[in-house]
């Protein structure tokens, strides 16, 4: 198979999002997400899915949300994405309250949900296509992103021709194509086998660092949560609650071998202790 005839070296210097950022001149360390007492109840308010979560996220931070099912981690992620409304508290992204899906916030799901009648590159171009006319630059950018997630030479493969891991790579490229700098990932590799998941996690770390996105990563795997994140938000169920935020002091990028270190294991124990009571 042949690759696409494009000049990748000049493309690498191009700024990442095709779409203008909401806040201009964002400096490192600036708070981009601010949540105060975010609550979600169902029915008449008696079913509490998420109770008063308060946290902040700085630009470029990688935050894991870990906890057993029913702890409200997916609910919280969907509230940040604007897909579902919160019933209490306040949540602002880039200084603006989130009320609906926005172009500066992108979401990736456990299922790749690729459109099976579109090639990989056409799937990646979908977010752009839904906003405006697709230009030659957009196509070049989509090809670069596929390259970045390790799918060079698969631009014109249809989803049925790709493995589960490759499909999630396409979904990741599609997320980056949105140009959003807040990346929400809901157990993105949860349906894949252990080995593929580990490899994709390492690549995910590299890719989000490359685009400089602020990332929220939902998982129920403690090791994975710690390995990837700068901070781990530990959540407990009945009612869904943000129990503790654990700092992870390791420098990024990281090697899989840090998982053997005593410091890493101490963090695992710390998280497990918080979850242990539940």
């Amino acid at each position: 198979m042949n690759s696409i005839a494009i000049d990748r070296s000049s493309a690498a210097a191009r700024p990442v999002p095709a779409r203008p950022r909401v806040v201009g001149g964002v400096s490192a360390g600036e708070t981009v997400i601010e949540a105060r007492g975010v609550t979600k109840t169902f029915g008449d308010g008696s079913v509490v899915a998420l109770e008063g979560a308060s946290f902040e996220a700085k630009k470029g931070e990688f935050i894991s949300l870990v906890g057993p099912s029913g702890c409200g981690k997916s609910t919280l992620l969907r509230i940040i994405s604007g897909l579902i409304p919160k019933t209490g508290g306040s949540l602002s992204v880039h200084g603006r309250e989130v009320t609906e899906p926005r172009s500066d916030i992108g979401m990736m799901f456990q299922k790749a949900t690729l459109l099976e009648w579109r090639t990989a590159i056409e799937n990646v171009l979908l977010p752009t296509e839904l906003q405006r006319r697709v230009t030659a630059d957009d196509k070049r950018r989509a090809a670069e992103l596929l390259h970045m997630v390790g799918l060079k030479d698969f631009e014109f493969a249809f989803p049925r021709q790709l493995s589960g891991g490759m499909q999630q790579r396409v979904a990741l490229a599609r997320l980056l194509q949105t140009g959003a700098d807040i990346l929400l990932l809901d157990e993105p590799f949860g349906a894949l086998d252990e080995f593929t998941r580990e490899r994709l996690n390492v690549e995910l770390m590299r890719v989000v660092a490359e685009v400089g996105g602020t990332t929220f990563f939902v998982t129920h795997n403690i090791q994975e949560a710690i390995f990837l994140a700068d901070r781990v938000m530990v959540m407990t169920p009945r009612p869904g609650r943000l129990a503790k935020i654990v700092d992870v002091p390791f420098e990024r990028p990281r090697d899989l071998s840090i998982q053997q270190s005593p410091e890493f294991n101490a963090l695992v124990s710390e998280v497990r202790d918080v979850l242990g009571g539940h």
């Binding site: 042949n2 005839a5 994405s81 172009s103 949900t113 090639t119 839904l130 014109f156 249809f158 021709q161």
Partner: protein, 292 residues
């Protein structure tokens, strides 16, 4: 030479033919044998020509219908017009209505009982009523074919649209897609395999529908010709008409299959690979044209 021998030893294997050609040769041999046996039995008076005419008689009737007298062309044309006009109008109506109903939950609730009643009614029973209303000409036949062709595309389009994956909808929502974009870029292509299956069903019933409509009451069309020859016990010509309709049915079936393969290319590995290669080439030549 006997049929049993042909089945036991593939014809042509000793002649260096490819397996496909050998299969074709064997099938032709079997068919030829049947025709020869049939002709012989007819000539020996073993088969009543009123029940089944000899192959040679059917061929002679064919030549008369389509060459020497040529009277069948007109009737074939009329039937074709009825089939295609009815099919296109009926399935367009079915698909269009299904899209409206599929996009609007209120309309869906309101329409449901009527759809159930209409679906439960045998369509062809409405035939005489339509003929009474629209007359004996081909317009009433088109209306009957429309009726016959309405339901399969309607039901399939609707269920195809309603079965769209909830995750994909959520993904579209997170990308800020409008209702129209969700329909155009998600629901419609996603429903395409179902819509095509509905269209194939409709096309298959369109021909039967037109013929039955012509049987009920008409002055022209293949159904009329068939009925006329049967009632005068001209079985040679009757069988020639029947074979025409078989060929027509086969052609229609095959073309629908080909259209299906093209429109729903992503369901087959080979076709998907071919389409992928074509799009890659188009992309590459566009990049070269830009001078990239």
């Amino acid at each position: 030479m006997s049929v049993a021998n042909d089945l036991a030893v593939p014809v042509g294997t000793g002649l260096g033919l490819s397996p496909a050609r050998a299969r074709l040769a064997r099938n032709l041999a079997i068919f030829g044998t049947i025709v020869v046996l049939w002709e012989a039995a007819s000539r020996l008076g073993l088969i009543d020509p009123l029940f089944l005419p000899a192959p040679s008689a059917i061929v002679a009737a064919f030549v008369s219908l389509y060459v020497t007298v040529g009277n069948a062309w007109y009737h074939l044309g009329i039937t074709l017009v009825e089939v295609f006009a009815g099919f296109f109008a009926g399935s367009a109506l079915g698909i269009g209505l299904a899209i409206l109903v599929g996009l609007n939950a209120t309309l869906r609730r309101f329409m449901k009982p009527y759809i159930i009643v209409l679906e439960a009614t045998p369509r062809i029973a409405v035939g005489p009523i339509i003929i009474a209303a629209l007359g004996f000409g081909w317009t009433s036949k088109i209306a009957i074919v429309m009726l016959v062709c309405f339901f399969a595309p309607f039901v399939n389009t609707l269920s195809g649209m309603l079965s769209v994956n909830e995750d994909a909808r959520e993904m579209f929502r997170s990308l800020g897609a409008s209702k129209w974009q969700v329909f155009r870029k998600l629901m419609l292509p996603d429903a395409m395999p179902m819509i095509m299956a509905g269209l194939r069903l409709a096309m298959a019933s369109a021909l039967s529908g037109a013929l039955v409509a012509e049987f009920i009451s008409a002055n022209e069309g293949m159904g009329v010709l068939l009925k006329r020859y049967t009632s005068t016990l001209n079985m040679d010509a009757t069988f020639a008409c029947l074979l025409t309709l078989t060929a027509l049915g086969f052609l229609i079936f095959r073309s629908m299959e080909l259209i299906d393969e093209r429109l729903v290319f992503w369901r087959s590995d080979a076709r998907a690979a071919a389409v992928g290669r074509r799009r890659a080439n188009a992309f590459r030549s566009a990049a070269i044209a830009r001078g990239a």
